[in-house]
């Protein structure tokens, strides 16, 4: 399997704090990988490193075999779904217009979107299953629908690598599961998917690999290896309680003190 993302001994320091420490990992073509870890573990920074928005102090990053900053036009081969809160939802834009923005990066300065761009936007809406909502305002969608709209925007440029940052924040569990199904469907079209999440349990049923990050890469492997390992407990710095439910164990994470008090 050809690697799509390669990180070698990557160190990132932001504002005097080490955010990422000696991260070495590879994501192969066509894989679906989730990056899990506690708040402030450097998960978002990891995505920004891959996007070339953050340049590591040390180490090497290659995306499609090249440093992200040298990708040029191939930058459009990376789709990105940021955390939703960064966008003003009162903006008077239809869902279709938002998805069409996904094509802007490939168009060049001053160029207007054309027929093929509109077609790509509609196809992306079709794929994520909200084509019927194309004419609604972005602020009128539910959390889950909106998340799909942002995935469609990322897909409109027909990327080979899709990066998602906490895409199921504020989305109810049932909608989260069908969202992960969608990511599987996208993966089946040949897209490599890398998703940052704090949802350690459920997501394990859908992904090929889990990477646990807490500044360092704690473990990176198949979900069943990772979830049953001591690594999660170490990563969260708290007691991890597993219960088996189907093939993959689910996990409940609680602060250590509470865990003791309840005596479970």
């Amino acid at each position: 399997m050809r690697p799509v993302v390669e990180l070698e001994d990557v160190w990132v320091e932001l504002g005097g704090h080490t955010v990422l420490e000696a991260i070495t990992m590879r994501v192969g073509e066509g894989e679906f990988v989730s990056v899990v870890g506690p708040n402030g573990a450097g998960k978002t920074t990891l995505l920004k490193v891959i996007l070339g928005l953050v340049v590591p102090q040390r180490g090497e990053v290659r995306v499609f075999g090249r440093p992200p900053r040298d990708l040029g036009r191939d930058r459009a081969r990376i789709g990105y779904v940021p955390q939703v809160e960064e966008v003003d939802l009162r903006f008077p834009l239809r869902v279709f217009d938002v998805v069409l923005m996904g094509r802007y990066g490939t168009l060049g300065l001053g160029r207007r979107p054309r027929g093929e761009d509109r077609r790509a936007a509609l196809e992306a809406l079709e794929l994520v299953g909200i084509r019927d909502l194309a004419g609604k305002l972005i602020g009128e969608l539910s959390g889950g629908q909106r998340q799909r709209a942002f995935v469609a925007r990322a897909l409109a440029a027909k990327p080979k690598l899709l990066l998602l940052d906490e895409p199921t924040t504020g989305v109810d569990p049932a909608a989260s599961e069908s969202f992960y199904e969608l990511l599987r469907k996208i993966q089946e079209t040949g897209v490599t998917v890398l998703m940052v999440t704090h949802d350690v349990g459920v997501v394990s049923r859908y992904v090929d690999k889990v990477a646990c990050i807490n500044r360092r890469l704690v473990v990176h492997g198949r979900p069943e290896e990772v979830v049953t390992s001591e690594a999660l407990a170490e990563m969260y710095g708290c007691a991890a309680l597993f219960f088996h439910h189907g093939r993959i164990p689910h996990m409940v994470v609680r602060p250590h003190a509470d865990f003791r008090k309840e005596g479970t």
Binding site: L51, Y80, D88, F91, P92, D97, V98, Y104, G105, G110
Partner: protein
């Protein structure tokens, strides 16, 4: 004599229509981006610039043009570096350039008439040369808005993603603020430094209440802007009131009316 019989009034009305359209359109970005305060900051910077130019004996237009542009890029730079909060930077600039303007103007004998005109607008002050400048500035703003339509939209809606897509976000935000600065300079004669910001905000905020689509918002805001500036000028002609406050009161009333009607219908 009817109002169109006066040459100064003809000039003021043409300039007013240009101002209304330009401020209305660029104001959409100001409102959506939450830049209302920045608009006010830039307007006051223009006043400081005018004072410096008058004192140096050069055309006030150059001062009004150069000073806000420096401030606009200063704001764009500060907001990206985030060493201090944007509104703090604007808050300081706002008061300081206003103070500088009045401080400097007090050294010029007989400054009071000029001062009042620059602060609150003076329709008698629109010369044929001002009119020519207005056409050039408005043309510049509209050309930039047309060519960079999709870039401005992207940068305003989602700067983070725009950067990921490889757009030069810092430069585009600087250009957008420069267009705001040009609009302020364009409007200075007719509306005055104190009230220019209202022209950037009120038409867009009024249109925002009734429109569901971004490019309709641009169009409606520009049309509302034209109607309000021209209407305000006509009222100020007959009531013999300063043009700036008359325009702003008319705009604010229309905004309030639309808001009430919309609440009723909802």
């Amino acid at each position: 004599m009817s109002l169109l019989g006066y040459v100064f009034m003809q000039r003021a009305l043409i300039a007013g229509a240009l101002i209304g359209a330009t401020a209305g359109a660029i104001g959409v970005y100001v409102v959506l981006r939450g830049f209302s305060f920045i608009g006010a900051g830039i307007a006051h910077a223009a006043f400081g610039g005018v004072a410096i130019a008058l004192l140096l004996g050069i055309d006030p237009l150059w001062g009004a043009l150069a000073f806000p542009l420096v401030v606009a890029w200063g704001i764009a730079y500060t907001s990206r570096r985030a060493a201090i909060k944007e509104e703090v930077a604007v808050g300081i600039l706002f008061a300081a350039s206003m103070a500088l303007g009045i401080f400097l103007l007090s050294f010029i004998p007989g400054y009071r008439a000029d001062l009042f005109g620059y602060l609150f607008g003076n329709i008698l002050a629109v010369s044929s040369r001002d009119l020519f400048t207005s056409f050039v500035l408005a043309g510049l703003v509209f050309t930039a808005m047309t060519v960079l339509y999709k870039e401005f939209l992207f940068v305003t809606f989602d700067p983070g993603m725009a950067e990921v897509s490889g757009l030069p976000v810092g430069v585009l935000q600087g250009v957008l603020l420069s267009l705001v600065a040009l609009t302020v300079v364009l409007s200075l004669r007719v509306v005055g430094a104190v009230l220019v910001a209202a022209l950037l905000v009120i038409p867009a905020a009024t249109a925002y209440q009734v429109v569901r689509n971004f490019h309709h918002l641009l169009l409606f805001s520009a049309l509302i802007g034209v109607a309000e500036v021209v209407g305000g000028l006509i009222i100020s002609f007959y009531l013999d009131t300063p043009s700036g406050p008359t325009i702003v009161l008319l705009s604010a009333s229309l905004f309030g009316l639309v808001m009430i009607l919309r609440k009723r219908s909802a």
